[in-house]
């Protein structure tokens, strides 16, 4: 199972970025072989609009099952939900801390977006 973390770093000790759509990148952790892979999100970081939507689609295409981030708005959430990706919101500082909390069952799945959209 693949879990995505919003971050600018390429290792597990990197800081967790609180933004989803405009995260600098995603660190994908594979629980099966404990491998990590970094996906740059530069294109969406600089997008005029719809960064969350596109980021969510990209994670769906990458075969991710869960995403751990700070906040997630309604459009991104709806795409993630459609792609079958569970969202976990946390304010933990690093990817490693968030991964540990997730594996210990300390994070609960988000039931919806925790931020309002930009276009309401």
């Amino acid at each position: 199972m693949k879990i995505a973390f919003t971050t600018s770093g390429k290792t597990l000790d990197s800081p967790l970025n609180p933004r989803f759509g405009r995260a600098p990148g995603f660190l994908i952790y594979d629980t099966d072989d404990r491998s990590v892979e970094y996906i740059s999100n530069t294109q969406n970081y600089n997008a005029a609009q719809g960064a969350g939507i596109q980021s969510a689609q990209n994670l769906g295409d990458a075969g991710v099952s869960a995403v751990v981030t700070g906040h997630c708005g309604p459009k991104a959430y709806s795409v993630l939900a459609r792609a079958g990706i569970t969202v976990y919101n946390t304010s933990l500082a690093t990817v490693a801390e968030a991964l540990e909390a997730l594996q210990k069952g300390e994070l609960s799945p988000a039931e919806g977006p925790d931020r309002e959209g930009h276009w309401q």
Partner: protein, 279 residues
């Protein structure tokens, strides 16, 4: 003839110039309120509503039974207004520009276009003035499609004065485009000058003839005068800074009706513009 009244900075007096110019026009004239996010020309005109129409724009509708989730539509959309997830496309209509590219490219014809409401267009009659006003719905983000529809309502048989939104971005350009001339309204302040310079660059880029109207002249400084004379830009009219004008404006009065001196000033501007169009 089509005249656009624009400005870089907001609150310089575009609407004041547009409605008063319409008031002193000889004969029937159309006034298009293209500041669709806050149309206010109607505040100065006492008239009756002749028509109200719902305005929309085309947005994609996905037939999920046909959609294969191939992603061609979302890859094409520059504005991320269509995404593919869980095997089908999802549409975010409020972000769509209505280009129709997704429907054209869909290999299985799963995308059709439907009308998505963005606002209303109201037509009011007030004496010789026909006001055509666009009003964007709260929450609708795309002004240009509504502005285009307001402009389509205008008859080419009658002169047309377009009250543009402020700034220099897409809504302004959509409103100005196709006009024979642009009046740039500004004020003698550092902000007024800075934004006038941006507006001048914009109209020059569009290759449109233009002139400047200076509002609240006598206040602030002389830098707008100096800018215009150094660039060879026509300063077509100066509205003096006068508290009485602001008070009349705040009561919704037309300056050309309340102050004979200003009526003459606007009539002089009209004559100047007519000379420009006759030559």
């Amino acid at each position: 003839m089509r005249l656009a009244v624009a400005s870089g900075k907001g609150g310089t007096g575009k609407t004041t110039v547009a409605v008063n110019l319409a008031r002193v026009w000889n004969g029937p004239v159309q006034l298009l309120d293209c500041d669709v996010e806050s149309p206010n020309a109607g505040l100065f005109l006492k008239g009756e509503t002749l028509a109200t129409e719902i305005a929309g724009m085309p947005v994609p509708a996905v037939d999920e039974a046909l959609c294969t989730g191939c992603g061609i539509c979302s890859a094409f959309c520059e504005y991320n207004s269509i995404a593919c997830a869980g095997g089908t496309a999802m549409v975010f209509p409020e972000m769509c520009r209505g280009c129709g590219g997704c429907a054209m490219l869909c290999p299985v014809k799963a995308i059709t276009e439907r009308e998505h409401r963005i606002g209303v267009i109201e037509t009011l009659g007030a004496g010789d003035i026909t006001l055509i006003r666009g009003r964007l719905d709260v929450g609708a983000a795309m002004a240009p499609p509504l502005i285009r529809q307001v402009k389509l309502r205008a008859s080419s048989e009658l002169p047309c004065i377009i009250d543009c939104p402020p700034g220099t971005s897409c809504p302004v350009i959509t409103a100005m485009k196709g006009s024979d001339m642009v009046l740039l309204v500004t004020e003698p302040t550092p902000f007024g000058l800075n934004d006038l310079e941006l507006a001048v660059e914009t109209v020059k880029e569009l290759g449109m003839p233009f002139g400047v109207v200076l509002n609240r002249s006598g206040s602030g400084d002389r830098r707008v005068h100096e800018f215009c004379s150094s660039r060879g830009i026509s300063l077509l009219m100066e509205i003096p800074d006068d508290r009485r004008y602001a008070e009349a404006y705040s009561r919704g009065e037309l300056l050309a009706d309340s102050f004979p001196g200003l009526r003459d000033l606007f009539a002089g501007l009209r004559a100047e513009l007519e000379k420009h169009f006759d030559s």
